[in-house]
Every structure is written in C-alpha cells, then in structure tokens.
Amino acid sequence: MYKGKERKGSSSEWRDAFWNPRTHELLGRTASSWGLILLFYLVFYLFLAGMFVLTMYIMLLTLDDYKPTWQDRLATPGMMIHPKGDQLEITFSVSETESWDRFTQTLNTFLSPYNDSYQVQMNDNCPPDQFFIQEDSGEVRNNPKRSCQFNRSMLEECAGISDRFYGYSRGQPCVLIKLNRVIGMLPGKNGQSPYVTCGAKREDGDKLGPLAYYPPNGTFNLMYYPYYGKKAQVNYTQPLVAVKFLNASVNTDINVECKINSNTLEAGSERDKFAGRVSFKLRINHT
C-alpha cells in the first residue's frame, strides 16, 4: 500500500538532483530528455517568432508611409526652446564666458542649416501669409515636396550674424522658440499666422523687462505649413521665433512662459505643460 521513501542524506540528494551519476541525469533529466525538450522549445519559439514577425509584417503593411494612422494626440502641437539648457533652465553669468559659451555653440550648430546661402540653394521663396499646399493628385505622389526658405537673417539681432554671442555676452540673451512639427497641421486661417507671446509666470512679472521678437511680431508664417512629413518633404525647414530679453532682472530666477496664439489650434490640456506653450527658467547672473 505504501511505497516507503528511501532515506538519504540531504547533501547527497542535492548532489543527485544536480548530477546523478547512476542514471546520468543532469538536473533530473538525461541527455536525450534535455535534447528533446530543448528541441521542442527551439521549434516552438521559432514558430512563435515567425508568427510574431508575420503579424507585425501585416500590421506594417497597413501603415501609410507618409502619414501616421492616428494624430489625435497631437491636436495641440508642443513648443520647445533652443537652447534647451539643463532641464529647461538657462542660467549663465554675463562675465563668465564659459557659462554661456555652450549656449552660443549649440545655437550656432542649430542655426547652420538656416544659413541664407543654404536656404536659397535648397528651398523655395514662397508667397507669405498663405499655406504652401502641395497635394498629391490621387495615387500619384507629388514627391519630393518642396519647402519654403527660412533664412537665418530673418532672426535679425538673434541670427548670430551681427552679434555672434546672441546677446549672451551683454545680458540680453536670445532664446529660439519652435512649434513642434505635426504632419498636415494648419495652425491658422484667414491669412493670420500664429504668433508667439512670452510673459513671466506668477510674481516674476516685473522682472522680465521688455522683449523683442524676431521675425517681427513673433509669427510663424503660414507659408511654412502644412508639413508633409520627413519622407515627402526632406528639406523642410522648421520656422523659428527668437525672443530677446532686452532688460531682464539679473541675479534672480525668472519663470518665463511663451505660448502660441492661433485662431485654429486648441488650447492644450492643463496636464501638458508643453502643448501650445513652453515654460523655462531664465537666470542671468551679473556681478
């Protein structure tokens, strides 16, 4: 009725569990048993991988090459500043060159594709204040699509041409503002271009001082829209707005918020601090 358990020392039991010399079992299985089960799992996982690849392939076939299936999460385009600083904090000392040197360096790099010579060579001089629409005619793709020139010189004081330190050396820093690219987005109507306004947040109002926007009024001209995606519109040049802080208070943190003003874009949700607006901290140290 009962199969008595054989009493063994626990140490030898453990050793047997790893390698049993009598039955030639490694971890409780013989070589052929291991071989079979590993072969099974190999075949099984290869099959699964095949199935996964197949479903992924079918899914990718359903995608459009030029436009993502869903864009509802991008209803309000994000905004971003350049230079980004460290965690969106632009802190520098006017007197210490190395404290702002990296900002001017990145601005130089960032703006190099905007050089007038390059833009003129690559892009079109489009009629302003109207959308630059290049529709496909049915199945025939109208590619590659052309892009409009955004010349570095349009940023005037902040172009880094007349002042190659972008005002950082004089405590009048320039910050570039860009509106995130969203395929097919039309950010205005009736010829009114969206424009950027900046202000100080909360109690920092009086510290901000006067601002200057380039291009004038801080507009993103309608001719740069719509965007057709990086595959169709290879040379797209993202329009910029430069904000120059002419007389910001020194030695204090200023919380700045810039936002887009448009007659078509929805206001972003309260949760998203970067949809249709951008916040950053500015601190100019001056001794």
């Binding site: 899914m59 993502p68 864009q71 971003m80 965007y227 990086k230 595959k231 970067f274």
Partner: protein, 998 residues
C-alpha cells in the same frame, strides 16, 4: 492526584504517547471507602465541610477542562499580513517609499508615482490579508456554535446537607449524588448505588450501559465498577460517590489535555501552497536580483535599478492568487457543509482528497448503521432475509407454521415501536424508538407479517423481564389470541446458547419435537455459520404455560421469578447485520474493537478485504499447514489483534503496513489507534481517522484529517477533529474525498491560469531594461490584471466539474504529485505565457506604430522618451512629441497591453478548464466561468473607457481596432492547447504527457 497533573506544555508526540499509555493513575477503587474518606478528609455521611471545600477549590482550581490554548487574534491577523507573498510585496512597498524618499530629498518636484505605488502595494497586502483573515475567522466561528456551554449542576452533600452547586465548584472529596439522566460531574468512587448504570461510550467506545456498584471488580480503574467518570452519563438508577479527581486530572481531562498537546503537521494543501510560494518567490528574487545587477552594469542609476526591482517583484507575484485559493477552498467548504460535512479548517477541505488511508471503526461509518435482519434459521434450515435498501433481494417461504411462531415471538418479545405519525413512510424508512436489534426485528416482522401493534393488542402483555447482561435474555408473558384459551404464552429471546439451555423441545415444521443431539448439532452449525458471517444472532423460544399451574389472573412476579423459565420450546434463530455501505474507499484500514473473526467477516463484507485475498491464517487453513510455515509475503490481507500490536516493534509495524494491502486491526484500544496512525504517517501516507469518543481524540488530532461525528461525537472529539459529519453519515466522507480531489484538480487549473499571465507581466520590464523601449506595461496595470480581471475567471475554475471519474483514481502521492510542478510551470510560463506576451507586445507595437513610432525607432529611445525636458522627440514620420503627449500614447499602450492580456486570458481560462479532455468534450456548462469571461471583459472596458481613469489609473480609451490585436494570439493559444491535449489523449504516457500534463 495533584502530583499526577499532566504537564501543560508537551514537547512532542512521543512523550504524550508514553503518558497516554500509562495506566490511569487512579488507585481509589482498590481502597476501602474509609480509606478514601481519610484521604480526602471527608465524611461518608456529612460530606466535606464548606471550609474544606473552599480550601480544596483554591488548591485544585475549578472542576473544568482547561480549554485548548488558542492563538490570539492579532497573531492570526499578523500571520495573514506577513505570510505567503506578503513579504515580497512588503519589500516592494518599502522599496517604493525608499525610492520616493530619495527622490523627495534630491528633486524639487518629485514624481508621486513611487509614493502612490507604495501606498497601493501596502493597501493590496493589507486588504488581501484582511480578506484571508476574515475568511479564516468565519470558518472558525462555526465551531463556536458547538460550545453550547450550559452550566452543569451537581448535587453535593456538604456538612450533611444536600446542595445543588455548579459542577465547576465540585472538589475532590465531595460527596455527590447522581441519578438517571445526569452527567457525572467528576471522576467519582461509588459509595452506594441503586440500579445505577452509566454510559461510558464517549470514553471507551462501549455502547452498552454498564452497571455501577461499590465493589471493586477489576484492577484496571477503567474496567472496575466502582468508579464513574467525568462527563459520562448516568443512564438509570442512582448512585452516591466521593469525588476523587476533578477538572484536567480526570480521565477525560487527561485525554483532552493530551490531545491538545499533540502537535499536528501542516495540511497537505498548506504544504503544497508553501512549496508553490517558494517556487514563485525564488523566481521573483532571482529575476529581481539578476536585473538589479544587470541594470547597475548597464549604467542605470541606483534609483532606476530599485524601480526596476519593484516592477519585477510586482510582475512576478500573483497578488490575487492566495485570495483566489482561499475563495476556492471556502466555496468547497460551503458545498461540503451543505452535504452535512462541516470543515473546521479551510485547508482540510482538500486533505480528504489526498487521503491514502482511512482508519475507521466499523460502527456506522463503514456500514449503513441500520441493523437489518439478514438470516433466519428455523425448520433446520437457514433462510435468507432481504437486506438491500430497496427490498429487491431474495425472499423465503413465509407459510411455514414455525415461521409464524418465530414471528410471533420476535414481535411480542420486543419493546421497540414505531414513532407516531409515519404511516405514509415505507417501513424501512420509519423511525423506531428502541435499540438497534429490536428495531431490526420489528421492521422485519412488520414487513412480512403486517402490523406488529395489532399482534401485540391481540396478545396482551401481562409481565416482562427486560434484557440484562447477567441473564442475557428477555422474556414476556402474554395472553393468547384465542379468547377461549386461558393459558398464558411465555416468549423469550436472547443469546442463542442461553436460550438453547432452557429448551427441551424444538419446533420443526410446526410440530414440537424433543431436542436431541442431532438437532443440537444442527443448531450449533447454524449458529457458527451465521456468526461467521459477522452477524449478531439471537435465539427465540416460547412455551404455553399450563393452565392448572398458572390460572387466569396469576400474579407473575418478575423480580422474584415465580414461574417457569425452562423446559421451553426452541423456535428458531434470527441474525442481524449492519449492511456495508456501497461506497467505501479502497484504502481503508479497519480499526475496531470487535473480535478478530467478526472484524474479518465485516471487512470481507465491506470489501476492506477483497475477494480472493487471504490472510496468513486462511492460507494455513487452506494448505493445512501451521501458521508459522506460511510465508507472510504471500498474504495480502492481514488481521492484527490489538494485544499483538503492543508487542510489535516499530519495524515490524512498518512491515505489516507496507506489505499488506488490506489490514484489519481488531480488538484495538484507542491508544493503539494512535500508534497505527503514526505508523501510517511514518510511511508517508496521508491518514484520515474517524471517531466519536473522547478516546479517539488523540488519533483524530494526530491524523492528517480527523473526522468526528456530529451527533454521537463528544465535544472533545469534535474539538480535536478537522471535519465534522453533521449527520454521522459515512457517505459524507466519500463526498469529502470527491470534493477534495476535485478542488485539488481545480486549484491546479486556477493556478495554471493565474500564473500564465505572469509572463506577459514580466517580459515588458525585461525588454524595457534590455532593449530600452518605452515601458509596455506599468505596475498599476499589472495590479489591475492580478487583482481585477484575473480574479473571477480564476475563482470560476473552482466550479469546474471533474474530467473523469476522480473516485476511481489512486489518491495522490504527496511526494510526486505536487499542486504546482515543473510541467505546470513549463506550460504556463514557457508556452502559453509566451504566446500571451507576444499578443501584448503586438498590441503595443501596433499602437506606437499607428501613432508614428515604428518599431525600428523605438529601440534605444527610452532615455529621451522618459526625459521630461525633451518636448520635441521626433517620431518615424518627423513629427515632434511633447513628454506628456508621448506618455499618453505610452499609457494607452499599457491599457492595450492590459486589454490584450484579458483577450488572451479568455482563451487561457477555456483551455485551463480541462487538463486532458478537449473543451468540446467538457462543454461550457460552467456558468460562473461564462460570467467570469463577461465580467473581465466588462471590467477591462470600464477601466479603459470610464472618464477619469486617465487621471486615476492612467488608463486611456482604446480605438476599437486595438482590441483585436491579440485575437490571433488568443486563437493560437486555444488551437495549440487543443492539439496538445489531443496528442496527450492519443498517446497515453507519451512524451507530451510526460512533459506537459500537469
């Protein structure tokens, strides 16, 4: 006596055993009454003085049993709070708080994620802990209803006056009086008695009431007549005695204390769950530590590595599983309670299912507990009566004159009668007032000869001597049916040999013949044959008293018998049996107080000793050789005499248990029962013991599952048992076995189902860490699966019906057949879980791709993706995303991954319904499971679409098409498993079964 007080704290079973085996240390029965009085400073007439009584009460304490030590409630609660997976989850929660504290100390605006997760984890542990605690508390509450503590009263004589006091205040030396119907308040030395009889059944198992008198009749205090024991009942008469032991020092108290001191092991299911927790914890800790180290090597910060660790712990622990198991066990316990099988300890629900041995006595448990007349002997011939429950069996010639005489004797000399108001019921189903054998006779006569009441009315009873153990007969004198016949009819029944002694003639074919040697031998043969069948045989005789000696109106004096009780005419024999139950499990060891011959006969009757199997003695008899020459290995069956048991060594005992498939222990004392239980357990068997007496309590407690009788059981035995049969019906045990096996199977299915979803929960973290993709599944969604959608389907599997006849199966071998084995893990983790993970990942990639992030773009994107200050992250189409925008997409992916797991779990719950059969064979009749499918889907939809969920749980509405991403994988799971089960059925014992049948 005070010195003999049993120590309260016992270390182990062996010491208890020795203690128990010791003779009961009562010597008072051998002392004269004067000596006893002297010992207790009491007086045989006046009793104790009040002052002395008070002094003794303070010295010895109240006369009550110390209740068994109970675990304080808060300890039980803490056990629930810190047992099982709780430790892992606590670790997770503490790590969360630690991570939050570090963040709070180093960052200006720390993200609350870790704090929330810590709080959620704590809540999960506390809530599941509370849940399990209340479930446990509920089942233990049922027990309290048994403690109907009606304060016992006792009549004591103190300072010469009779006073009624609480039984608790009785002290040693008290002079007390008991009368019929009283419960004896303490162990007493009888001083004087008048027809006093006590029922010792709760103590010794003897059901016959025994008379008490002041004389010492036996050296053994349990056998002598001048001691009456605490908590036994006085059935009739009165007695006066001196209290010699009170409270825990009484014989009953000693057994009760010993019982509560016995340590019991964990239940098999508790061991299984522990084993399973070890596996899961091992995997969790291994993976957690590996990836913690890996994360550090890959250059993640300590904080990130800790957060990964938390994620892996949360993903690895099936948070809801222990609650599911508790619910499943509770459901089964409730189902069993409906069938009159009350389970005291939830975990004991399963134990009966894995029971490999049942130690049972025959009375009422293996048999129908319904005495029935089986055979009759008259006219020198044995006739068979019908014993089947539905009266479909054989019949006999009822026209014989002898039979009519026999029926008249059996009907008249019988004090049993039907209870009123049952005329509509079939005779066999009617309740009878009277003892078992008289009831059997009554029913038999009623069935074959019509109303016994009418017969008794026609033959008015004029005198009666009830059965007693000295006479061993019962007689009554009646008027005859014929009004012209003024003779009296004397009828008598009793032990056949005693009856025969009083007879000089015998009735054959209706004619009285002198009893000659030939007829006597025929009688002897019949008696032996019927006795050999394990039946209780009664003899019947009658005589018509001569009218000249006993004229009408003769005053029959039953006290001082003034009439003829010999020279009677023998009529016949009737034998009764308690028929065996149809469904007695195979592995039953019979432990009985009966004589070996009777025990063997019954064992053969109920199939404990199956046909064709022989004992050593049988072989010896067949081969006509001495018993000593028979090879004991040849005998599969064996009957062991209790007294032999005492002399057996442990090895010999093991040898008997191991080498015989069919064992009967006869004439066993309760102490020996304990030895038998321990012997079986030593051999790795899971032992169930049934019993009702106090003396069975140690065995009940020691057994893996003790089954006590609800009606006939004593309080102490119920206290010691794990399960109580409310209707004393052995068929309930069979139900218990069935339910236990079913719940074990279904728990496997439930666990396989729940564990499967662990893989799609863990893999996202692993890929997140290794390939640096955005996190596909968050910790909150993991908790939603484990504690939300998986719960009802997992519980519904407990309602699954058996796939095959589970009663035909061998009991599971606890060493090999685990609840969670490597095959279950292989299927759940290695196969189905992997398919599920792919389903989830597919949905994840679909959503990201349709939003613009193609898979190629995702690899390595994690650092930028999770950077709050990067708000212009570029996707595959050149669009730019803010942190919040892409996080919404990520959380939508979490939701889709979650929904995909629900979708693949549909298929999983359907394949988990069966382990071998096809779903098409099993059907979808489990309504709870269907409900579960809808419930989890509805819950998933609710979590995804309910407004506010984006803020509360960060779950977002899904586009309808995203629900279908996992459908191919769900379908694959179903097809794959059906094919697997098909191969499994086609090739029994083949590779598929060896590797995948869990």
């Amino acid at each position: 006596m005070g010195a003999d007080r049993s120590p309260k704290k016992k270390k182990g079973g062996t010491k208890d055993m020795d203690d128990l085996k010791k003779e009961v240390p009562i010597t008072e029965h051998k002392m004269s009454i004067e000596e006893v009085c002297r010992k207790f400073n009491t007086d045989i007439v006046q009793g104790l003085t009040n002052a002395k009584a008070a002094e003794y009460l303070i010295r010895d304490g109240p006369n009550a049993l110390t209740p068994p030590p109970t675990t304080p409630e808060w300890v039980k609660f803490c056990r629930q709070l810190f047992g099982g997976f709780s430790i892992l989850l606590w670790t997770g929660a503490i790590l969360c708080f630690l991570a939050y504290a570090i963040q709070a100390a180093t960052e200006d605006e720390p993200a609350g994620d870790n704090l929330y997760l810590g709080i959620v984890l704590t809540a999960v542990v506390v809530i599941t802990g509370c849940f399990s605690y209340f479930q446990e508390a509920k089942s233990s509450k049922i027990m309290e209803s048994f403690k109907n503590m009606v304060p016992q009263q006792a009549l004591v004589i103190r300072e010469g006056e009779k006073v009624t006091i609480n039984a608790e205040e009785v002290v040693g030396g008290d002079l007390i009086e008991v009368k019929g119907g009283d419960r004896i308040p303490a162990d007493i030395r009888v001083v004087s008695a008048h027809g006093c009889k006590v029922d010792n059944s709760s103590l010794t198992g003897e059901s016959e009431p025994q008379s008490r008198s002041p004389d010492c009749t036996h050296d053994n205090p349990l056998e002598t007549r001048n001691v009456a024991f605490f908590s036994t009942n006085c059935v009739e008469g009165t007695a006066r005695g001196i209290v010699i032991c009170t409270g825990d020092r009484t014989v009953m108290g000693r057994i009760a204390t010993l019982t509560s001191g016995l340590e019991t092991g964990k239940t098999p299911i508790a061991k299984e769950i522990e084993h399973f927790i070890h596996i899961i914890t091992g995997v969790a800790v291994f993976l957690g530590v590996t990836f913690f180290i890996l994360a550090i090597i890959l250059g993640y910060s300590w904080l990130e590595a800790v957060i990964f660790l938390i994620g892996i712990i949360v993903a690895n622990v099936p948070e809801g599983l222990l609650a599911t198991v508790t619910v499943c066990l509770t459901l089964t316990a409730k189902r069993m309670a409906k069938k009159n099988c009350l389970v005291k300890n939830l975990e004991a629900v399963e134990t009966l299912g894995s029971t490999s041995t049942i130690c049972s006595d025959k009375t009422g448990t293996l048999t129908q507990n319904r005495m029935t007349v089986a055979h009759m002997w008259f006219d020198n011939q044995i006739h068979e009566a019908d014993t089947t429950e539905d009266q479909s069996g054989a019949s006999f010639d009822k026209s014989s004159v002898t039979w009519l005489s026999l029926a008249r004797v059996a009907g008249l000399c019988n004090r049993a009668q039907f209870k009123a108001g049952q005329d509509s019921l079939p005779i066999l189903k009617r309740d009878v007032a009277g003892d078992a054998s008289e009831s059997a006779l009554l029913k038999c006569i009623e069935l074959s000869c019509g109303s016994v009441r009418a017969m008794r009315d026609r033959n008015k009873k004029v005198a009666e001597i009830p059965f007693n153990s000295t006479n061993k007969y019962q007689l009554s004198v009646h008027e005859t049916e014929d009004p012209n016949d003024n003779r009296y009819l004397l009828v008598m029944k009793g032990a056949p040999e005693r009856i025969l002694d009083r007879c000089t003639t015998i009735l054959v074919q209706g004619k009285e013949q002198p009893m000659d040697e030939e007829l006597k031998e025929a009688f002897q043969n019949a008696y032996m044959e019927l006795g050999g069948l394990g039946e209780r045989v009664l003899g019947f005789c009658h005589v018509l008293l001569p009218e000249d000696q006993y004229p009408k109106g003769f005053a029959f004096d039953t006290e001082d018998v003034n009439f003829q009780t010999d020279n009677l005419c023998f009529v016949g024999l009737m034998s009764m049996i308690d028929p065996p139950r149809a469904a007695v499990p195979d592995a039953v060891i019979m432990v009985t107080g009966d004589h070996p011959i009777t025990a063997k006969a019954i064992a053969k009757g109920v199939g404990i000793i199956s046909e064709g199997n022989e004992t050593v003695e049988d072989i010896a008899a067949r081969l006509n050789i001495p018993v000593s020459q028979v090879n004991p290995r040849d005998a599969k069956a064996c009957v062991v005499h209790g007294t032999d048991l005492k002399d057996l060594s442990q090895d010999q005992m093991d040898d008997i248990l191991r080498n015989h498939t069919e064992i009967v222990f006869a004439r066993t004392s309760p102490q020996q029962k304990l030895i038998i239980v321990e012997g079986c357990q030593r051999l790795g068997a899971i032992v169930a013991v049934t019993g009702d007496g106090v003396n069975d309590s140690p065995a009940l407690k020691k057994a893996d599952i003790g089954v006590a009788m609800g009606i006939s059981g004593s309080d102490v035995s119920k206290q010691a048992a794990d399960m109580i049969l409310l209707d004393d019906n052995f068929a309930s045990i069979v139900t218990g076995v069935e339910e236990g096996r079913l719940i074990f199977d279904n728990l496997k299915k439930s666990i396989a189902y729940t564990l499967t979803s662990n893989i799609p929960e863990i893999t996202p973290f692993l890929f997140f860490i290794i390939v640096n993709i955005p996190l596909p599944l968050g910790t909150i969604t993991i908790l939603c699966i484990d504690l939300g959608t998986d719960m009802v389907p997992a519980i519904s599997l407990a309602y699954e019906t058996a796939e095959s006849d589970i009663m035909k199966r061998q009991p599971r071998n606890p060493a090999r057949d685990k609840l969670v084995n490597e095959r279950l893990i292989s299927i759940a983790y290695g196969q189905i879980g992997m398919i599920q993970a792919l389903g989830g990942f597919f949905a994840y990639f679909v959503i990201l791709a349709e939003n613009g992030f193609l898979p190629s773009r995702l690899v390595g994107i994690r650092l930028n993706w999770d950077d709050r200050s990067t708000n212009d992250l570029e996707d595959s189409y050149g669009q730019q995303w803010t942190y919040e925008q892409r996080k919404i997409v990520e959380f939508t992916c979490h939701t889709a991954f979650f929904v995909s797991i629900v979708v693949v779990q549909w298929a999983d719950v359907i394949i988990c319904k069966t382990r071998r059969n096809s779903v098409f064979q099993q059907g979808m009749r489990n309504k709870i499971l269907i409900f579960g499918l809808f419930e989890e889907t509805a819950l998933a939809a609710f979590l995804s679409y309910c407004p506010g969920m984006d803020v509360a749980l960060r779950m977002y509405p899904l586009k309808p098409s995203w629900w279908f991403c996992a459908f191919p994988y769900s379908f694959l799971i179903f097809v794959y498993d059906e094919i697997r089960k098909l191969l499994l059925r086609r090739n029994p014992g083949g590779w598929v079964e060896r590797e995948t049948y869990y």
